[in-house]
């Protein structure tokens, strides 16, 4: 084997490319799926935690809301307050391993990883989404309630879409964090990118070369994902142009307004 750095790198790549590829695939799968499920968990938790309680509500509802909010905030505090690597050990050896024992090793690892990342991400997402909901101008909720929408209709049609738009950067950030932090799941033998790299490095004891490759792969993943998320964010801004219609008697007339130019493009009264 070559003693130069680049020689080593190319040797490792040619020998272990499929290992890196599988590790990368598993890293992407568990971090993406974990982020999505984490988002769903966080969504439910945040919606439950933002339910308003009225003085006129029945005592049973008040009590159950208070109990639920105690449970949910405990979940958030515990999972934000301990490292995911420790959570992985506790959950995996505290029963998850047994529960998944019917599965083939690779799938068992993937399933365990998704479950742990989802629970962990859910705790962060819950606070991100709650923050997004309370950051939307309360007037939006009031406007919706004032035309007779129920709290739920107002939340899903008016407040939540605006909250999501506002927290999109934070949601994307969680995904990027998960791509990197899923590496800690090597402690429960999930065959993700870091775990695969460790195996590759151990065979020839070429740690520097192997983990240089690993670092490049992680960076490409996060950088690409960040770019894609920016495109999605921009799409969610909504159109920045609109058409002015003529009055009903001149329904064919229209003027197109774009925000960049603030100029009138075509159309006009006929």
């Amino acid at each position: 084997m070559s003693q130069t750095f680049f020689g080593g790198v190319s040797f490792i790549l040619s020998k272990y490319w499929s290992l890196f590829l599988r590790g990368t695939a598993i890293t992407l799968v568990v971090s993406l799926t974990g982020t999505i499920f984490g988002f769903l968990i966080g969504l439910i938790v945040a919606l439950l935690r933002t339910i308003p309680v009225h003085k006129t509500d029945k005592p049973l509802k008040k009590l159950s809301v208070r109990f639920l909010s105690f449970i949910l905030s405990s979940y958030i505090e515990i999972f934000r307050g301990t490292p995911m690597i420790v959570q992985a050990m506790v959950i995996y050896y505290g029963g998850l391993s047994k529960a998944l024992s019917g599965l083939h090793d690779v799938y068992k690892g993937i399933a365990a990883a998704i479950i742990i990342i989802s629970i962990n991400t859910g705790a962060y997402m819950a606070e991100i989404i709650r923050g997004g909901i309370i950051s939307v101008d309360p007037g939006q909720m009031e406007g919706a309630l004032s035309i007779g929408m129920t709290y739920r209709q107002a939340m899903f049609n008016v407040v939540f879409p605006q909250a999501i738009r506002n927290i999109m950067p934070s949601i994307g950030n969680e995904f990027v964090v998960n791509i990197k932090d899923s590496s800690v799941l090597n402690v429960i033998s999930v065959a993700e990118l870091y775990f695969m790299s460790k195996s590759a490095a151990g065979a020839y004891l070429r740690y520097f070369e192997v983990f240089f490759i690993t670092a490049v792969i992680y960076f490409i993943l996060t950088f690409t994902v960040t770019r894609i998320l920016r495109v999605i964010e921009r799409k969610m801004e909504g159109k920045d142009s609109y058409t002015i219609h003529g009055s009903q008697s001149y329904s064919k007339a229209s003027i197109h307004i774009t925000s960049e130019s603030k100029s009138i493009i075509g159309g006009g009264l006929k």
Binding site: T56, G139, G148, H245
Partner: protein
């Protein structure tokens, strides 16, 4: 002037009866012992200095604030006892806000359509037709496709009025509808409101536009530190108020 009395027992044709209403934020008693009725076709203006509790009263009537005492009757039935009927009550009592509160994630047209579909169960086609009719009436048909951030304050407020009209409310509450507007946009909103008055809409208007209040109101209520100080015809309130506080307020603003 149809009715000057504020007799709460007379709910024969009153849309709203407010009885000894009280709202307290902590130890702060913002409105107390407010009793008044709103009859069909009436335009009632509420005037008074900032902090008098005018907006709080309006927000209590639409249940955006929960009153801490008293009662609100809608066609003789209390709306405070039954939380389930709150939504259908609110649909019949429109509200126009100082800050417009148009839904920022929707176009002007969608703003007017969503409530009709979700609350009144109208089809999209029917809702859009109604929306376009009311947008045309407030002069906003041309901007149906614009997002709230793309139009001016006056346009937003006119769209918000159209949104409320789409729900076919029996009474509309206006909470300082022109206070957040640049001076040159106040006129366009007031003229839309004038046309509603002409159309016979029942309105309860909190306003600082004294000229408007004097011109269109069937009754003017002067509020001071949480109570109704005086309630009378605009002529009496603006030219020969009976109470000293009313006189002081009127002379300070005219």
């Amino acid at each position: 002037m149809s009715n000057n009395n504020i007799n709460t027992n007379n709910s024969s044709n009153a849309i709203l009866d407010i009885i000894n209403l009280e709202k307290r934020f902590g130890n702060n008693l913002v409105i107390r012992d407010i009793s008044m009725s709103v009859f069909e076709g009436e335009v009632v203006s509420i005037i008074g200095s900032s902090g008098a509790g005018k907006s709080t009263l309006l927000r209590c009537i639409n249940l955006l604030e929960e009153p801490t005492g008293g009662d609100i009757l809608f066609h003789g039935k209390s709306i405070l006892t039954d939380r389930k009927s709150v939504s259908s009550y609110r649909a019949k009592v429109g509200m126009v806000f100082q800050q417009f509160n148009l839904f920022n994630n929707m176009t002007v047209l969608q703003n007017c359509v969503v409530g009709q579909m979700k609350v009144l169960g109208r089809s999209r086609a029917e809702a859009e037709e109604t929306a376009k009719m009311y947008l045309d009436r407030v002069g906003m048909y041309a901007f149906a496709d614009a997002l709230p951030r793309q139009i001016s304050g006056g346009q937003k407020q006119r769209a918000a009025i159209a949104r409320t009209l789409c729900m076919n409310p029996e009474v509309i509450l206006f909470d300082e509808p022109t206070s957040a507007l640049d001076p040159e946009m106040v006129g366009e909103v007031l003229s839309v409101m004038r046309s509603l008055v002409k159309g016979g809409m029942t309105m309860l208007v909190v306003t600082h536009e004294m000229g408007f209040a004097r011109e269109v109101s069937s009754r003017v209520i002067f509020m001071d530190s949480g109570i109704i100080e005086e309630s009378d015809t605009p002529d009496v309130i603006f030219t020969s108020p009976k109470k000293e506080r009313t006189r002081a307020f009127i002379s300070s603003i005219l």
